[in-house]
């Protein structure tokens, strides 16, 4: 019973943090371009700035 008193609120708290994290990812529009982000991670070179003739 003592274990329940600790573990149940703890697990609920963790899950609630997970929910807040999900809502944050949604608000920062991380699901708007799923395909693009998936391939963007493979681009290793950063954009170069070169004066062009």
């Amino acid at each position: 019973m003592d274990a329940l008193m600790l573990l149940v609120p703890l697990s609920l708290l963790l899950a609630f943090l997970g929910l807040l994290f999900f809502l944050w990812t949604l608000r920062t529009r991380q699901y708007d371009d799923l395909e693009g982000t998936a391939s963007r991670i493979l681009f290793d070179d950063t954009p170069r700035k070169e004066p062009r003739p």
Partner: protein, 788 residues
């Protein structure tokens, strides 16, 4: 070292005869590129040091071929000024097919010294740019993208509304909340299910915990259902969402009463998982249709453009169509589509009015004549006075008519709602009878009597039932999308499945809608030479000639004499009068003459699409009677009808006549499928039971249609009908199955022997069976006919 590791990614493409830039199959005899545009694009990519693109590229073959001439849109007017001389611009970018394309676009733009930010979104096809410098640089960036083979258009409000989708985002948010609730309620519910030796106090604590989690979740996550149910009730309709709302709310209320009374069971887990499952189905359904809507918005954005307006000082500037007022003078270039109703000031104009009247031959207009918006200038450029601003013109009037017709179609009652109309009252009656039976005659306390009554509600409740149709829809719409059929309306598939008559437009639907070179008595060398000359002109016939021989090298020093023809040295290409040949031009003809050679004629006609006959036959085999309804002359319509095997045809049909014909068919009780592409078809499309149009149709036709057939022609239409019918069959099976399930579950619930565990099992298994059945909608038997 393993052999596999030594395969170099730089290896040349398997087929040697593929264009190095766009990957299209090369015509025999061509070098490494399919056209000069691709050669230029390849050199540009290499010059930027971005060759890596070709190793990563996964775009469809031929998709990146640069257009012969980019759309004449002034992007500078769309750039937004920021602080300190910065400007930003949002573009819709078509042709973006893979991560490598995103990389190429971003890197190519970032290489510009003035560029501050360039970010492309692959899912929404949205490109955001910010640079330091004048707004006019926008055109340079757009031109750079066009040279790489990407078509760009200003980001329009239509694109925005198609991608933003606030409602969809709300659904995802509440799905997250419902998912959180479902998982955590299970945490305590499972403990109660398995803990048979649990003390009453502990069980009570568990139930209170479950209530604590469920109540807010049911309140928030159920909102979309409650709102829609209320809206339905206000309109006097019983819909599926009402069934869901009653089930969820009654279950929650009963569970709360059981918790207070410390009863043996609560059903919180059932209510919350039900919400999570239904929301998941809804999110998937919406995502499938959002992609289709977005693709339609993309097609429309590419058609937008600007007009060339004469200023006070006599100079010409490109301005957006909306800003032009009646009475102003504009310049219409050769090959340009009229975006406003005009009055011809002087001289003569030759217009292709196929989109407005359906006529396949261009018509001559004299000075002072009104010119309809939507027509294409086939002759020389001319000056005209604007008869009405865009908002008061004929196109806007047509758009308003369409809106009204759309409203009528929105009242269509779909299969789910038809079933629910009987289902909800029945279930409520059973629940009420159960409650009264146990309370009055069964000898239970009223609170205890609530349990079997609500259990009956939740086991019948719509779970499998409400998921039955969204799941089939999501799978079929997604499968059709991959075949190039864009389904934008929620009930379109159901209406398509029940269509029993097809009304086809001729010009642009059964035919290609643009001139194509006919076989004639010219030689291959003459064609090459003439096509090389024609590449310099925007005239529709020149473009048709150039398209007939894309590998021809462009001629040097070509001079265009507007309204007459082209000249390069002694070689000439143009009208009969230009070459000094006596006689009137019959239909659409270009003459070509080289010094010392007899002139040859290239004749053009609006050709029947190669697969038109096969498609009409296939539609008839599907049980749809076909009819041809065209605004063109009787002989042209009769010829097409004869070739495609359609016996019923009408020629010279005005837009009103087309709409009237559709209404007459509906009054007879037929369910017509209208297929058309022109402005003159829009009213008929909106009135029809279900409507489809080709991907290159006018924007009005695309907004009026339920389905847009991307790619070439109508090839996907029979497959779409088969797919819609299959989806309909599966939806019926799913509903039948769910109802049959209830025949077993309801007696158990009424007999008060359903525990929450049993209810969860019943719900989960029925949903699973229905979902698996829905997945069969994708595995169409026939192989895809449409490819990119």
């Amino acid at each position: 070292m393993s052999l596999i590791g030594r395969v170099t990614p730089e290896a040349a493409p398997a087929s040697a005869a593929a264009c190095l830039h766009c990957g299209a199959v090369l015509p025999p005899g061509a070098g490494r590129f399919c056209c000069t545009g691709c050669e230029g694009a390849h050199a540009l990519v290499a010059g930027l040091g971005l060759d890596g693109f070709y190793r990563r590229r996964a775009a469809a073959d031929g998709a990146l071929r640069p257009a012969v001439e980019p759309a004449a849109v002034d992007f500078a007017g769309h750039a937004r000024p920021g602080r300190e001389g910065e400007h930003s611009l949002e573009l819709m970018i078509a042709g973006l097919a893979c991560g490598a394309c995103v990389w190429l676009v971003e890197q190519a733009l970032a290489a510009e010294p003035a560029m501050l930010r360039a970010r492309a979104s692959l899912a929404t096809r949205r490109l955001t740019l910010a640079w330091r410098g004048p707004a006019a640089r926008a055109n340079d960036f757009a031109a750079l993208l066009a040279r790489l083979g990407f078509r760009v258009a200003p980001w329009s409000p239509a694109c925005l509304s198609a991608t933003e989708d606030a409602e969809g985002r709300t659904l995802v948010r509440v799905l997250g909340i419902a998912g959180f609730g479902a998982m955590n309620v299970m945490l305590v519910s499972v403990a109660v299910w398995v803990g048979a030796d649990m003390g009453e106090a502990t069980r009570g604590l568990m139930h209170w915990l479950a209530a604590l989690i469920s109540l807010p979740v049911v309140l928030v996550a159920g909102m979309p259902f409650y709102r829609s149910a209320l809206a339905g009730l206000r309109g006097g309709r019983v819909n599926m969402d009402l069934a869901v709302s009653i089930g969820v709310l009654a279950t929650t209320a009963m569970s709360l009463s059981e918790t207070i009374r410390n009863g043996p069971f609560t059903f919180f887990d059932g209510a919350v998982s039900l919400l999570a499952l239904l929301l998941a189905g809804r999110v998937l359904d919406r995502a499938a249709r959002r992609r289709a809507r977005q693709a339609v918005a993309e097609l429309l954005a590419l058609q937008e453009g600007s007009v060339s307006l004469f200023g006070e000082d006599g100079g010409v500037s490109a301005v957006p169509v909306e800003s032009v007022r009646a009475g102003q003078r504009i310049l219409v270039a050769a090959g340009e589509r009229l975006r406003l109703d005009l009055l011809l000031e002087a001289g003569e104009a030759l217009l292709d009015t196929a989109a407005t009247t359906g006529e396949s031959l261009p018509r001559r207009f004299a000075a002072g004549a009104p010119l309809p918006a939507g027509a294409v200038n086939m002759g020389a450029g001319f000056t005209a006075r604007v008869a009405a601003a865009a908002a008061d013109g004929s196109l806007a009037a047509m758009a308003r008519l369409l809106e009204r017709a759309e409203g009528a179609r929105g009242r269509y009652v779909d299969l789910a709602d038809r079933v629910v109309r009987y289902f909800v009252p029945t279930v409520l009656a059973v629940a009420l009878a159960t409650f009264l039976g146990w309370w009055l005659w069964g000898g239970l306390h009223w609170q205890a009597a609530l349990v079997p009554a609500v259990a009956a509600l939740i086991v019948t409740c719509p779970c499998g039932f409400a998921i039955a149709i969204p799941a089939v829809q999501a799978v079929s719409v997604g499968a059709l999308f991959r075949r190039g059929v864009l389904v934008a309306s929620a009930t379109a598939l159901e209406r398509l499945a029940s269509a029993d008559h097809v009304v086809l437009d001729k010009t642009g639907t059964l035919t290609e809608g643009r001139p194509a070179l006919l076989p004639g008595d010219w030689t291959e060398a003459e064609l090459r030479a003439a096509a090389g000359l024609a590449q310099a002109s925007r005239h529709p016939l020149s473009r048709a000639l150039a398209a007939a021989c894309p590998e021809a090298p462009a001629a040097e020093g070509v001079e265009e004499l507007p309204g007459r023809g082209l000249r390069a040295g002694g070689r000439r290409l143009g009208s009969a009068a230009f070459l000094g040949i006596p006689g009137e031009d019959a239909g659409m003809t270009l003459w070509y003459a080289a010094p010392g050679q007899a002139p040859v004629a290239f004749r053009f006609a609006d050709r029947l699409r190669a697969d038109a006959t096969a498609i009409v036959a296939e539609l008839q085999a599907l049980g749809l009677s076909a009819e041809l309804l065209s605004g063109d002359a009787p002989n042209a319509v009769a010829a097409v009808a004869g070739q495609t095997g359609i016996t019923a045809w009408t020629a010279r049909a005005t837009p009103e006549a087309k709409a009237a014909r559709i209404e007459a068919l509906r009054a007879e009780g037929r369910r017509p499928l209208m297929v058309g592409d022109g402005i003159n078809d829009a009213a008929a499309l909106a009135l029809a039971h279900v409507a489809a149009c080709p991907g290159d149709a006018t924007d009005l036709a695309q907004t009026a249609a339920d389905l847009v057939l991307q790619g070439e022609g109508l090839a996907a239409l029979p497959a779409a009908i088969r797919s819609a019918r299959r989806a309909q069959r599966l939806a019926r099976q799913n509903i039948t199955f769910s109802l049959a399930y209830n025949l077993v579950a309801v007696p158990l619930a009424v007999a008060n022997i359903v525990t929450p565990l049993l209810a969860a099992l019943v719900m989960a298994s029925s949903s699973l069976v229905v979902t698996l059945n829905s997945l069969r909608a994708e595995s169409g038997k026939e192989s895809p006919r449409w490819t990119r």
